[in-house]
C-alpha cells in the first residue's frame, strides 16, 4: 500500500480489477467473434429446425413411413437422408451419403428421446419425439463411420447404433427412383 490514503489505495485495487475485467472482456470478444464470424460467413449454426410432427402417427404415412426412409437424391440434385430413431435401432441400419457434397439429414422418433452423432464429423443432434431433427452438413472424409444413439433411451441404449458409409462421388450412384443404399461390404 503506497503511503497515500487507504481510500486511494482501495480505489487503485479496484482499478487493477477493472483492468483485468477489460482483459477478460477482450478474450470473451475473441471467442464470441470466432463464433459470429463463422456463423456469418460459413453458416455455422447448431442444427435447429422447429418442425413439429406427431410421433404417435409417424409410422402411418408421410415422410417418415417405413418405405420412405434412406438416402434420396432429389430432382434438383439435393441429397436428403431420412431415418427413424426408435427403441433400440435406427432405420435404415446403414446410411449411404456422398462425400464433399451438401447433405441434409432428417430424423424423427416415434417413442422416446434419442440422440445421434456420426464419429469424426460434425453431425450431432438430439431426436425429440414431437419434432423433426434436421442437420445440414458436408462429409469431408470417406469410409465407414459409426452413428450411435448418444442419449439414454432405455435398457437397449448401448446396442443402438447404425453405420454411415461416406462414399466418394464415383461410388455414390442413385438408382432410378433417386434412392441410394449402402454398398454391401
Amino acid at each position: 500500500m503506497s503511503d497515500t490514503h487507504p481510500e486511494a489505495h482501495e480505489r487503485w485495487i479496484l482499478q487493477t480489477e477493472l483492468l483485468w475485467a477489460f482483459g477478460v472482456g477482450v478474450f470473451i470478444a475473441a471467442a464470441l467473434g470466432m463464433i459470429l464470424f463463422t456463423a456469418l460467413t460459413m453458416n455455422v449454426n447448431p442444427p435447429s429446425n422447429v418442425e413439429r410432427i406427431n410421433p404417435k402417427t409417424l409410422h402411418l404415412a408421410g415422410e417418415f413411413a417405413e418405405h420412405n426412409l434412406g438416402t434420396a437424391v432429389g430432382s434438383d440434385g439435393r441429397v436428403t437422408v431420412r431415418a427413424i430413431a426408435t427403441q433400440f435401432m435406427f432405420l435404415p441400419h446403414c446410411i449411404a451419403v456422398p462425400a464433399n457434397r451438401p447433405v441434409t439429414l432428417r430424423f424423427a422418433s416415434p417413442d422416446v428421446i434419442h440422440g445421434l452423432l456420426i464419429t469424426g464429423t460434425n453431425v450431432n443432434t438430439m431426436v425429440v419425439p414431437g419434432f423433426v431433427a434436421q442437420v445440414h452438413t458436408e462429409f469431408t472424409q470417406t469410409g465407414d463411420l459409426l452413428m450411435p444413439c448418444h442419449e439414454y433411451c432405455g435398457l437397449g441404449h448401448s446396442e443402438m447404433w447404425a453405420t454411415v458409409q461416406a462414399l466418394p462421388d464415383n461410388e455414390f450412384k442413385p438408382g432410378p427412383d433417386g434412392r441410394v443404399s449402402c454398398a454391401k461390404r
Partner: protein, 538 residues
C-alpha cells in the same frame, strides 16, 4: 459455536455417505464399460448404478453439504445463534426422508431414468416425490439463511454483511430461482405422468423447463467452493483477501448470469431456433466473467501471502506459499482443474462447435473436472478446515489429508484427460457395454482402461477421505481454534446497499429470465408440441 455442531455434522455425514456409495458405483461403472469388464452385469444394473451415481453426487452430496456449510457460516460469520434451529432439524429429516424415498425405487430398478429424467421415460412416482422433498428441505434452508442475514443487518445497521454470509445468501437466492424450472417440470408434467393421471407428456416443454435448472444448479454446487476461495483460503495461506468488493461483485454476477443460460444444454435440440440459442450462448460467455475475476482476485491474494512469506520476483511467491496446509493445497489443485475443466466448458459453449462434442465423453470430462474436481476437492478442504471446530478435535498429522487431496487430483486428471480425447473421437455417453470388435471402438479400449485406472485412484482417495474424517472424531482435543475467515486488504467500512443485499438484483434477474426464457417457454404454452406417450420404467 452455539451448538449447531450436531446439525452441521448430521448434514455432512449424510452428504459424505452418499458420496462414498456413489464413488464405489462410479468405479464399478467404469470397470463394466471397459474391455476388462465385458459381459459383467446387465444394462439394468448399469443404468440403475448410473442413476444412483448421479442422484447421490448431484442431489444428495451437494444439497446436504451446502446446507451444513450454510448453517456453519451463518453461525460463525455472523457470530450469532442460528434463527429457527428446530426448523433446520425438521428440514434435515424431511430431506433425509426424500433421499430414502428416492433411493428405494432406484435400488429396485423402478427408476432407471438417470438423474436428469428423460421423459417420456417415466420412473416410479416415489423417485420424483423423494427428490421434490429434498428440494423442499433446501428451500427451508434458503429461508433460514435469508432470515439470519436480515436479522443481523437489523442488529448492525450500516455495517457490511460478512462476505462469507453474503455469498451464502446469494447462493440461497439463486437456488430459489433455480428450482422453479425442475419444480414446474416435476409437479405439472412428470409426477402426474408417473402417477398415471396422464398418458402423454410434452417433451419439448419438459426439456426446456429442466434446462432452466440444469445450469444454475451447477453454480449452486460451485458457490461454496468459491466461498472457500474468498474467505478461507487467504487466511489459510497467511495473507489477506485482495479485494472484498470484487468478492461481492463476483457472487452477484453469479446470481445474475448463472440463471438465464440453461439452454446451452439444448444447443443440439430441435425444439428451439438458432436465435434463442445464440442469445443463450452469448450470456453463457458472460457467466465465465465471475470465474475469471475470481482467478485473478484469489491469485492476487495468494501473491500477497507468498510475498509476505518472502517470495521474490514475478512468480517467486508461488514457491513460498504454505503448500503443506490442506486448504492451500486444495485451492491450488482446484485452480488447475478449474483451468482444464473451464477449457472443456468454453468448447462446449461454442454455438456450432457444440456439435463436435455434445453428449460425448468430452462433456463427461468437463463436468467431472469442474464439479467432481475443483468443487468437490474444495468440499474436502472445507470439511478438513471446519471439522476441528465441529468436533473439538485436531488432526494428528496433515500428511494423510494432503495425500488424499493429491490422490483426488491425480485420479481426476488420469480419468478425464483420456475422456477428452475419446470424446473428440466420438465416444458417446451412458454405454453399458461397448462393441470392442468394431474397428472404431477397438481403438478406444486402451484409453478406457487408462481412465479406469484414474477411477480406481479416485476410489482410494474417496475411502481415505471418509477415513480421515472418521479418524478425527477420536483425535486429540484441540487447544485453540485459529480465526477462520480471511480479512481483506481493506476491510469494508461502508458498502452500497447494492453490495449488501439482493433486492435490486432480483429485479434484474427477473428481467433477464423474461428476456432469455420468456419466448422459449411461451412457444410451448401458445402451441404445445405434439405429445409423446409415456413409457413407464417401473
Amino acid at each position: 459455536m452455539r451448538n449447531v455442531e450436531r446439525l452441521c455434522l448430521a448434514h455432512f455425514w449424510v452428504a459424505f455417505a452418499a458420496f462414498l456409495v456413489a464413488a464405489v458405483l462410479g468405479t464399478w461403472q467404469m470397470w463394466v464399460r471397459s474391455p476388462l469388464g465385458a459381459n459383467v452385469g446387465t444394462p439394468g444394473h448399469y443404468f440403475m448404478s448410473v442413476t444412483a451415481h448421479g442422484v447421490s453426487m448431484a442431489y444428495v452430496l451437494t444439497t446436504f453439504f451446502i446446507m451444513g456449510f450454510g448453517y456453519f457460516v451463518a453461525v460463525t460469520a455472523l457470530d450469532r445463534p442460528l434463527p429457527g434451529k428446530p426448523l433446520a432439524w425438521a428440514a434435515y429429516w424431511l430431506g433425509l426422508l426424500g433421499v430414502v424415498l428416492a433411493v428405494i425405487p432406484i435400488a429396485t430398478g423402478h427408476a432407471s431414468v438417470l438423474f436428469t429424467f428423460y421423459p417420456p421415460l417415466t420412473g416410479s412416482p416415489w423417485f420424483y416425490i423423494g427428490l421434490v422433498l429434498v428440494v423442499a428441505a433446501s428451500w427451508v434452508w434458503c429461508v433460514l439463511m435469508m432470515v439470519a442475514m436480515t436479522q443481523w443487518k437489523r442488529e448492525n445497521p450500516g455495517k457490511p454483511v460478512p462476505l462469507a454470509m453474503f455469498a451464502t445468501v446469494a447462493n440461497a437466492v439463486m437456488w430459489l430461482w433455480t428450482t422453479v424450472g425442475v419444480a414446474a417440470e416435476l409437479l405439472f408434467q412428470v409426477i402426474p405422468a408417473a402417477l398415471g393421471l396422464v398418458q402423454t407428456i410434452d417433451v419439448g416443454l419438459a426439456r426446456t423447463l429442466f434446462s432452466w435448472t440444469l445450469h444454475a444448479i451447477v453454480y449452486f454446487w460451485l458457490i461454496p467452493a468459491y466461498i472457500a476461495f474468498y474467505t478461507l483460503v487467504p487466511r489459510a495461506a497467511g495473507g489477506r483477501l485482495y479485494s472484498d468488493t470484487m468478492g461481492r461483485l463476483t457472487f452477484i454476477l453469479f446470481l445474475i448470469y448463472s440463471l438465464p443460460v440453461g439452454m446451452h444444454h439444448l444447443l443440439m435440440d430441435p425444439e428451439h431456433g438458432n436465435a434463442t440459442k445464440f442469445i443463450q450462448v452469448l450470456l453463457t460467455a458472460f457467466v465465465s466473467v465471475p470465474t475469471l475475476l475470481t482467478i485473478f482476485t484469489i491469485t492476487a491474494s495468494f501473491e500477497i501471502a507468498g510475498r509476505l512469506r518472502g517470495g521474490k520476483g514475478v512468480l517467486g511467491w508461488i514457491g513460498a506459499l504454505p503448500w503443506e496446509r490442506p486448504m492451500v493445497l486444495a485451492a491450488g489443485l482446484a485452480f488447475v482443474m478449474l483451468g482444464f475443466g473451464g477449457f472443456g466448458g468454453i468448447v462446449n459453449m461454442g454455438y456450432g462447435m457444440n456439435a463436435m462434442v455434445h453428449n460425448t465423453a468430452w462433456v463427461t470430462a468437463h463436468f467431472h473436472l469442474i464439479f467432481g474436481g475443483s468443487v468437490v476437492i474444495m468440499y474436502f478442504a472445507i470439511a478438513y478446515e471446519i471439522w476441528p471446530r465441529l468436533t473439538g478435535r485436531e488432526h494428528i498429522s496433515l500428511m494423510p489429508l494432503r495425500l488424499q487431496l493429491w490422490l483426488w487430483f491425480i485420479g481426476m486428471i488420469v480419468m478425464t484427460f483420456p475422456w477428452h480425447w475419446l470424446g473428440l473421437q466420438g465416444q458417446w455417453r451412458r454405454v453399458a457395454n461397448f462393441n470392442y470388435a468394431d474397428p472404431i471402438i477397438a481403438g478406444w479400449g486402451p484409453w478406457v482402461v487408462v481412465s479406469l485406472g484414474g477411477g480406481v485412484i479416485l476410489l482410494i482417495s474417496a475411502l481415505l477421505f471418509v477415513w480421515n474424517l472418521a479418524a478425527l472424531h477420536r483425535g486429540p482435543a484441540v487447544a485453540l481454534a485459529r480465526p477462520l475467515y480471511a480479512l481483506a486488504v481493506h476491510p469494508p467500512q461502508r458498502v452500497p446497499a447494492a453490495l449488501n443485499g439482493f433486492g435490486f438484483w432480483n429485479v434484474l434477474v427477473l428481467v433477464l429470465m423474461v428476456l432469455a426464457y420468456g419466448f422459449p417457454i411461451a412457444q410451448f404454452v401458445i402451441e404445445p408440441s405434439p405429445s409423446a406417450i409415456v413409457h413407464r420404467v417401473q
